[in-house]
């Protein structure tokens, strides 16, 4: 049986002024998925998350959460959203924010919220406005986690955390997936942060979905050239931001299943993403596992 998807987009378009920031997006994120939302600056990641949170109305097509159109009031208790600015009431103490979370959310889990803060020793009496960027991020994530939502929409949730806090916070978020079947959709610039943590990938480029699917499937479907036949291919460093493309990404074979004898190695997540960004003309790759469910849309994406 196929359950209602956590998130589903069908021909989704969003305009900002005269330009279209999301264009004909079609995808489905299954329940319980940990989906990485990646792409260069300005690709539309934040707009997609804000749209899913119901804060931006689609201009065309539709976007559904848990089977209902975004913005539907019935969804509100079931989704949690952390925006890039970590919007918190600056005058409120951390303690007061947690109380607010408890009072406004019927399913509030105090332990889940405190777990995020405890390890980082966030002073609970401090006002949100006096906290550092990383501390505000942790408070935002604590509130999101305390809500015990079914779908968590997280915009760059790890970006200003130190390496230890990243690992710990990601671990806690993933524990909710293992324990409660929560669905995570999280954007990140740092692919290394996502590599062992996500199981689905959604690559946006200029407002279009370029690549979508379960991560093992995507990695298995692409091949790197043999390092011996292309000596320069393996020499580039790791950790480069999505904007700058290391030399080896030029060489990734983008034709799935068409790997020749000199294309033998499966790419890493970073190599795969960079290759697609570096080849804007390469055909999009949307796995059947992430195509929208309705019959007419399956046809439209070529299923």
């Amino acid at each position: 049986m196929i359950t209602t998807p956590a998130v589903q987009a069908v021909g989704l378009g969003v305009r900002r002024g005269r330009s279209e920031v999301l264009h004909d997006c079609r995808f489905r994120i299954p329940r319980g998925a940990v989906c990485g939302l990646v792409g260069p600056n300005g690709a539309g990641k934040s707009v997609l998350l804000a749209t899913a949170a119901g804060l931006v109305a689609p201009d065309s097509g539709r976007l559904e959460l848990l089977g209902r159109p975004v913005g539907d009031a019935a969804n509100r208790p079931r989704i949690a959203y952390v925006d890039q600015n970590r919007s918190l009431y600056r005058q409120f103490s951390v303690q007061r924010l947690l109380r607010l979370g408890r009072d406004l959310n019927p399913g509030w889990r105090p332990d889940a919220a405190e777990e995020v803060l405890d390890a980082a020793r966030i002073p609970v009496r401090a006002r949100a406005g006096s906290l550092s960027g990383g501390q505000r991020t942790l408070v935002s994530l604590a509130l999101a986690r305390g809500k015990a939502a079914d779908v968590l929409l997280l915009d760059e949730p790890l970006s200003d955390l130190d390496p230890l806090a990243r690992r710990r916070t990601m671990g806690l978020l993933l524990a909710d997936v293992a324990e409660r079947g929560a669905t995570l959709l999280l954007s990140s610039h740092v692919l290394a942060d996502l590599e062992e943590s996500i199981d689905h990938l959604l690559l946006l480029d200029h407002g279009r979905v370029r690549l979508a699917g379960p991560l093992p499937e995507l990695l298995a479907a692409h091949r790197l050239p043999d390092p011996l036949s292309v000596p320069a291919a393996r020499s580039a460093g790791v950790g480069a931001p999505a904007g700058s493309v290391p030399a080896r990404a030029h060489r990734v074979d983008l034709l799935p299943g068409d790997a020749g004898p000199d294309h033998t190695e499966a790419p890493t997540l970073e190599e795969l993403v960079l290759a697609y960004l570096h080849h804007p003309g390469a055909p999009d790759w949307i796995s059947p596992a992430m195509r929208p469910l309705t019959p007419e849309t399956c046809e439209a994406v070529g299923a």
Binding site: L172, L174, E196
Partner: protein, 141 residues
Amino acid sequence: MIEYHVRRRSGVPAYQQIVQQTEQALRLGHLQVGDKLPTAREVVAATAVNPNTVLRAYQELQRAGLVESTQGLGTFVVRVLGQAENSAAAGLREELTAWVGRARNAGLEREDVLALTASVVDREFPLADEPAPGAVSRERP
């Protein structure tokens, strides 16, 4: 209880690292029959690897007949591996310790000792199809 450490970019897939660490604990006697493995939630929280990775590792261990999962109760060890740390091996460890001491006194470096033992182990326990790794070329007369 066993604690897993998953190294990123080590070249070994995360699920395999969990399998290997479990096997090593079974071999060294750190895990005994009846011991419980941590839950997927616990491993995920501690390592930040995807829950599917942990499930895949546990399935692999189950397929190898080393652990069994009982719905609602957890995953338990049903068989241990090898003889590395049982009482019969204690005497062997003592002899080996003495031998390594003699090797050091004879002027061998750590790498020399490892290469030498690896070459003997490879000869006495040949792998099914893989040729023995390169230790042979470093063997001393």
